[in-house]
Symmetry: C2
Amino acid sequence: MSQERTQAHAKSMSDGVDCARREIEARPALGNKVFSAEKLLLARMMESLGNPPLELVLWDGQAIASAGKPPLARVLIRDRGALLKLIANPELGFGEMYTAERIEVQGNLVDCLEAIYRAFPRSGNGQIAQKLLAPFNGPLRNTQPRARRNIHHHYDIGNDFYKLWLDRDMVYTCAYFPDAAMGLEEAQTAKLDYVCRKLRLAPGETVLETGCGWGALALHMAKHYGATVKAYNISKEQIAYARERALAEGMEGRVEFIEDDYRNVGGEFDAFVSVGMLEHVGIEQYQDLGAVIDRSLKGAGRGLIHSIGRDRPSPMTPWIERNIFPGARPPSLSQMMQIFEPFGFSVLDVENLRLHYAKTLEHWLGRYEANIERVAQMFDPAFVRAWRLYLAGSLAAFRSGDMQLFQVSFNRSGENRIPWTRQYLYSS
Amino acid sequence: MSQERTQAHAKSMSDGVDCARREIEARPALGNKVFSAEKLLLARMMESLGNPPLELVLWDGQAIASAGKPPLARVLIRDRGALLKLIANPELGFGEMYTAERIEVQGNLVDCLEAIYRAFPRSGNGQIAQKLLAPFNGPLRNTQPRARRNIHHHYDIGNDFYKLWLDRDMVYTCAYFPDAAMGLEEAQTAKLDYVCRKLRLAPGETVLETGCGWGALALHMAKHYGATVKAYNISKEQIAYARERALAEGMEGRVEFIEDDYRNVGGEFDAFVSVGMLEHVGIEQYQDLGAVIDRSLKGAGRGLIHSIGRDRPSPMTPWIERNIFPGARPPSLSQMMQIFEPFGFSVLDVENLRLHYAKTLEHWLGRYEANIERVAQMFDPAFVRAWRLYLAGSLAAFRSGDMQLFQVSFNRSGENRIPWTRQYLYSS
């Protein structure tokens, strides 16, 4: 769901909400009774969301269901305040009230969220298209200090927490499942390999990695491809973990983990790779990133950027941006090209791995739920519910096509030492 | 080479040319003597082109070579008029004067042109990037009548001419060579197959093809994949040829060849395909094309667009646009996304087959040269040389990275019946 949609909705709803509030304030004695104005507003909200196949149950037991379709799940709205937040701004309100246990979902949370994503008409005529392509709410200026705060918010909440539901290598990006039935550990290793093969890494080569997470890819490139890697990250906890791992595995001479911003990178490399950082860069900084790659990549160097993306330019849902990923903005492909085109890089290959991210998230969510009691010992109930909603919502977004996963391979313009076909990626 | 470059060059040169002209007019008695001002201007032109490794020989026998590099070819400039045209506007002047036999190339024409493409600094600092991304010379409005004139100019010059150097199926687009040593006929068949496999065509499905050339792909889809095809084209001669072929091969019930503009398409289809038409559409018409695809593709439909492209937005060289392909403009990927993003199509796969187009052009140019006497019986000497220059220049452009070839596969947003991986494309 997009911010534009929320805004349009909020505008059309705000008069109605004010009206309901006035009705409530005028008749305080009525207490918990549901007003007909409230039911009308809820029905209008459902309509504006494309009538997802859900049954909404209010605190007094009254139920409202979308006509025609059997409901996939039941959404319990526990009090008037939750209802008003929801109808005033469904995208923000649902997350906030779910986190606060004032909205509950009976049935499968992922199916419920996927139904919401799918109900909204995304394709079709130019009018909707035009509306969704309208300019965003001002630019996203991720300066270095702000980027640091954004990353700290999400990635520095404790490595022990992430260990509960990530794979053993702590790879917190889309895995690659050559076979859909493959386990998560194996699929993350397959992804690291797939990236190295797309980069055509050769022993003795140097690699620059920006946004290295807990270091799995950098270590994999050094251990299995004989590369020497400089890996950058601005998350304190991730860098500390990665350094410990390099030391424990005897890789400290081959992989250098540097706690610094991608904009401060120095040196020249045979390959550039960035997996899961671009989402945090912000479109406005893409030309800076392109300049970093341009000054870092040798003439015959190869590059790969792996990022969550969108089918068209659109911001994150406001609840995710406020609570989970401040300053994040997954790009559409036309936006992503703003990294490459100003510097004349040549895009060789774009692969959309959307369903592999859905599969990855199935594993993460499964492990998260299996470890929910351990999570509850570490964090308060609101955190536990917020992270369930984030994981379930992300899974629903990739399943429904609201989110994409792009791997873009590139070279400098005119470099002819490139693979003749992609056959080599698919022979063992 | 770009139009901006030419313009910047022309501006810096025009004073010099005027000066040389005045010098010549003031001393008519000097006749064929080469003036020092002319040599200076020629040296400055070479510098502005990045000093390609060529030796320029003037009509009086004087030679000018780029310092440092051994020359790859020798360019003979036969008279003062040719020299002045060249230094005033090298991109237009070279083609015009080569065609008129007033400029000759000794050595390999393709190598000479590739050296020119490669010499110009394309990558590097933001200044050059900014300059090259400057807005173009006004929009390209390919209305339906204008599109018809443009296509008639190139494609209606006689099927017998194209038969001399295309493959037996008359496929006038980039072939796909699973093995670089494969012959042209086999590689064109492999390309038709590759496109069908990317589209995941199943028996009984319907296909819309816009810009069908001489009909090879439409007939291949019907014969080998059991599809029913509506194929559009505005070239009279191509459509006539394709209809004859359909009749001769008993395919007239399965493939309908329609002489009409892509904007007039009707009906709904399981697949949309367009191979080598987009170059002629013009960026300004991409949203119209997107709307055509949007109204033509069924919910689970698949699409593929195959087109020449660029690493960044830039127009055709002016000589090509004036003499070979009026109204043509190969897009960068960000421009190409203007077809898909406004309608929320989901891009699944982008493959850059640049070197396959270079290989295809090697075959075409080889066959053209082998049949040059037959061509000379059909057309005047200027045509013979212009087409040699066009084929050799295109080969040089793909070899040097000035041109790309993109195959873009797409679906409607949120469609999950997509291939799990790309493995299936590479197993026989």
